[in-house]
Symmetry: C2
Subunit: 481 residues, 2 copies
């Protein structure tokens, strides 16, 4: 049965909650007196619709129904989850809860997006205090899984487990905080870093851009996949977490930050950390963790490279500065020469079939560039699209191997470009890729002839290759030679 969520306050955070519930199949009712609320939520929802569904490898449930309500009471009536995301003023939140509790189901979850208040503060003076808890998400709410669920002593265990289950069902990772404290857990880190950053700017040590780069070119990449303690566990190496923490101790007393209250690293605290770290990561050896870390870093760096952003943009720029174009066309042309990256491997322990086509696609891209179909040409509204592909997998190849692709032009006239790629590791033929490309207008999305310059260059290479023998395997169909 379709469940219903009520969203009280529809800003960036409330809108993010609305989008997540909706795309997970819930009906969503919004109450927000802001006349701009509908527009604002529509904008968040547009972002969510373009990004969230593709995270899953399965079709999403049917989107729920979105409605806007004039009264808070009508929005919350019958809702399973009520999420309050109003400004951070305690008296305002109290007022909201009073109205909500006159109309909502007594066992509905009332979650607050507060980043600072403790649940016991939120519950003060409420009709049913146990129904209200902190459910603190992270922007963008529709993509980031973390939600901090913070109960108080007045919160029944059943309410916590219901909230946990419902949050999980909409794709979130609920972190139930054991003891209520100001700012819960994550925002304490954000606050600590934020203050330090303000000092660095105020003291003229670094600019906002330098600080962002100091984060995203370094520890930000570590934290995105392992967090703080698992990262240090790996850094500590074979000597173990206890040794690492114990020797870390003295540094903490150095005057490295502006903020100086330091917990004493007693033997008890060292033991506690080491034991928790063993429970968390002890199933992996340090060597295994190193490789997991490196796999993750390579996968994330290459994902960012494909987006040309952050540390990935650095990799792309480094490639550009090293790139050289082939100049001799009497033989098949080397269009790819690279190592197989870690993230191209699959469960069979070798390069995944789709990555063969990725490498052949890269080879085609370089060939296109060679005939003048480069970024400027594409920006002018013309390009080649692949119409057809035939791949023969002849031998396996593994991460780290150096692969070379040589490309023979079988035909290059009119709208057609017929290419034959051979992928080699040293003397070993790994695969062939035969591709028919059609020149298109990016405006009409239809076939058209290339520019004179591209036609001439393509014709020149096609002619140079015309005297080469037809490669073995060209023209074959699946299952027939």
């Amino acid at each position: 049965m379709t469940q219903t969520a009520a969203i009280i306050g529809g800003g960036v955070i409330g809108g993010g909650w609305a989008a997540r519930f909706l795309l997970m199949g819930w009906d969503v009712r919004v109450f927000d007196p802001d006349p701009e609320a509908e527009r604002k939520i529509a904008e968040v929802l547009a972002n969510a619709r373009r990004s969230l569904p593709g995270l899953s490898d399965l079709a999403m449930p049917e989107e729920g129904a979105l409605s806007f309500h004039e009264s808070m009471e009508s929005a919350v009536k019958g809702a399973r989850w009520i999420q309050e995301s109003v400004p951070e003023r305690l008296e305002l939140k109290h007022k909201v809860y009073r109205t909500v509790q006159t109309a909502c189901e007594p066992d509905a979850v009332i979650g607050s997006s507060t980043s600072g208040f403790k649940p016991s503060q939120l519950q003060e003076g409420a009709e049913r205090p146990g129904q209200i808890l902190v459910a603190h998400p992270f922007n963008p709410v529709y993509l980031l899984p973390l939600v901090e669920l913070v109960p108080s002593e007045a919160t029944p265990a059943a309410m916590v487990s219901a909230a946990k289950e419902l949050a999980t069902s909409i794709g979130m990772a609920p972190l139930v905080v054991r003891k209520e404290i100001d700012a819960h857990i994550a925002d304490r880190f954000l606050e600590a870093v934020w203050r330090e950053a303000l000092w660095l700017i105020k003291d003229g040590v670094a600019t906002t851009e330098e600080i962002d780069n100091a984060i995203r070119y370094g520890f930000g990449l570590r934290w995105a996949q392992m967090g703080l303690f698992e990262t240090y566990r790996v850094a500590g190496g074979e000597a173990g977490m206890k040794h690492f923490i114990a020797q870390f101790g003295p540094c903490l007393e150095w005057p490295w930050t502006k903020l100086m209250d330091v917990p004493e690293l007693t033997p008890e605290l060292v033991d506690q950390i080491a034991e928790q770290s063993d429970a968390q990561s002890g199933q992996y050896s340090i060597r295994e963790l190193e490789r997991i870390r490196d796999n993750n870093l390579v996968a994330m760096l290459r994902a960012l490279k494909a987006q040309n952003w952050g540390a990935g943009a650095l990799l792309k720029a480094a490639d550009t500065s090293r790139k050289s174009m082939p100049a001799v066309f009497s033989q098949p042309i080397v269009t790819v020469d690279r190592a197989v990256p870690l993230d191209w491997t699959d469960y069979n322990g070798h390069m995944n079939e789709a990555k063969y086509l990725q490498a052949f696609g890269d080879a085609t891209d370089l060939f296109m560039e060679l005939v003048g179909c480069d970024a400027d040409y594409i920006a002018s509204g013309l390009s080649y699209f692949t119409a057809e592909t035939h791949i023969r997998h002849i031998d396996e190849v593994h991460a780290g191997a150096r692969i070379v692709i040589r490309t023979q032009c079988l035909l290059g006239e009119g709208k057609k470009m017929h290419l034959f790629h051979e992928m080699w590791e040293g003397e070993r033929l790994l695969a062939t890729g035969e591709h028919m490309l059609i020149h298109v207008s990016l405006e009409t999305r239809r076939a058209c002839v290339p520019s004179d310059a591209v036609a001439a260059k393509l014709g020149e290479i096609a002619q140079a290759h015309a005297s080469l023998p037809l490669p073995e395997g060209a023209g074959a169909a699946v299952g027939r030679r």
Copy 2:
């Protein structure tokens, strides 16, 4: 000409430097009295060799030569870059520099991996103080690009620019720190977070695992691509960075962290931050930044999903809990039903050709699972490998579209499995994929017959599909119908 780096101290950090220089084509000379140094560096180098080369889309330069030296003098003689990574004891570092400077070139860069000392401290009593500067990297040094270069007032500008250029040439992102301070920039953040984390554990608020999850399921993913200020710029929305910072101010005075010295957010500081943020990110509208952020997050989350780690493991688990297997085989079987993810799009603004094969590969995987070739079967040492693929691209498709793949089994007997996939968006045929798979032993990597159970199930489906018409396009070769 091959350049030479000298590595003084070959632990995890020194070994990481050695690996980066070597794989970027430098000769590397190591001095480390530890009898284990050679083994330790070999281990770091093995990790680097498996992960670094694939970051580039071009072949790496020829690896340099690695040598181990009995004396510091012979290691540093003629080296262009000398990197000191000895323990954090100032008198030890001074002793190293004294010896190094008796033998090294006067214009060589002497970089220190110190995470805490200022360059002016390192330079004390040196023969040529201007030659010594901080070059603080981040573990794993061979993958993370950030290196903090910290000069003192005694450092000539030419030394800084030489160090910057050389670091860039080995794929690093040098951040030249404007004013020397203890712990430079990044480690001040790490320290602040570390202390806060220790308090949370000591006070029983969270465990190491909960803290790591609070980071890697939330802000860690934001920081890996945008850092702190650009993230807040996006969160602040259309009202702008100045408005955002100004309203953020009061919260800083709340007792959210244990460490309380707060910089005053004067109008001047607010202006300074807003201006720096405009200079950094002002070329993008907030709407553009939101989409860039979401593209990056989707790409990183899906990269982590492929590794089954961190936030990506959550996505994978959510899919597993929702997955259902088809049970009716009288018609072509729905093997994929999903949205096209953002990171499947290429420069032509549509789904990239390699992603068609990825989707067809997923369809094949589900079909394999259906006939009993599942994770357990593969773990037992048997699998199917794709031998041949023929793809026809019939129409374009864009991110967010829902695609469905229906799979017809053309042949399923002996070692062969011949599949024909059709990819649809609604009533629109997008592409067909014809695949010949061969059953293999993962031990011998050779063809062999499947287990009786798999053969029986495959035979059952093949027989159910035998009466279906041969799909249009089956058996075709590139360029011929």
